[in-house]
Symmetry: C2
Subunit: 108 residues, 2 copies
């Protein structure tokens, strides 16, 4: 692939069950990561977008947290059902998905 146009980061940090912060891993972020990779392949975007797992993206209580760079757009509470819209609206269309934007709260 050439230099990626976009760099998508998916938090896979996992805390033990019962931890008051919760974690993206507990909410299924590994599966979300794999689903996003598959979707990008299906939509012919795999050579334009790189997707990576990361350690904690510092919004445990709002996970699953996903950041889309170089837009510096951060999404909260992402589920597999949101991925089509993120791909179509944001990655293909350049318009971030407003309803998923991380609220303006302190990074944890």
């Amino acid at each position: 692939m050439p230099k990626p146009e976009r760099h998508v980061l998916v938090c896979i940090n996992t805390r033990p069950p019962g931890n008051p912060k919760g974690s993206c891993g507990e909410k299924g972020s590994e599966a979300l990561f794999e689903a996003l990779k598959s979707l990008l392949r299906e939509r012919g975007l795999k050579d334009r977008v790189i997707v990576n797992r990361t350690n904690c993206l510092k919004h445990c209580s709002r996970g699953i947290t996903v950041a889309v760079q170089p837009d510096n757009v951060w999404y909260a509470g992402v589920t597999p059902g949101d991925l089509e819209e993120i791909c179509a609206s944001h990655i293909e269309g350049g318009t971030p998905v407003a309803r998923l934007l991380m609220p303006d709260i302190p990074w944890e």
Copy 2:
């Protein structure tokens, strides 16, 4: 911290010794990640910059690979001795470190 101004990604992918691709992990990227976090704290940047470990950033043979977002600047062959310059020139000064830029080669 408020929303980070910059998002630094450090590849910690590790392949077994002898793998022909090599890997950032084998070249000490965990220690580099920790050194960068310490340096950002020392320089008073920890509330402006988030640093994350990632899985493979697709430049195994050129590692340690570091990406700085939202600039979409990718660095190759980063060593602990380069971190002061990356912080001073790029993160504080806004000027990427030209000598470390990833060459225009295909992503692996």
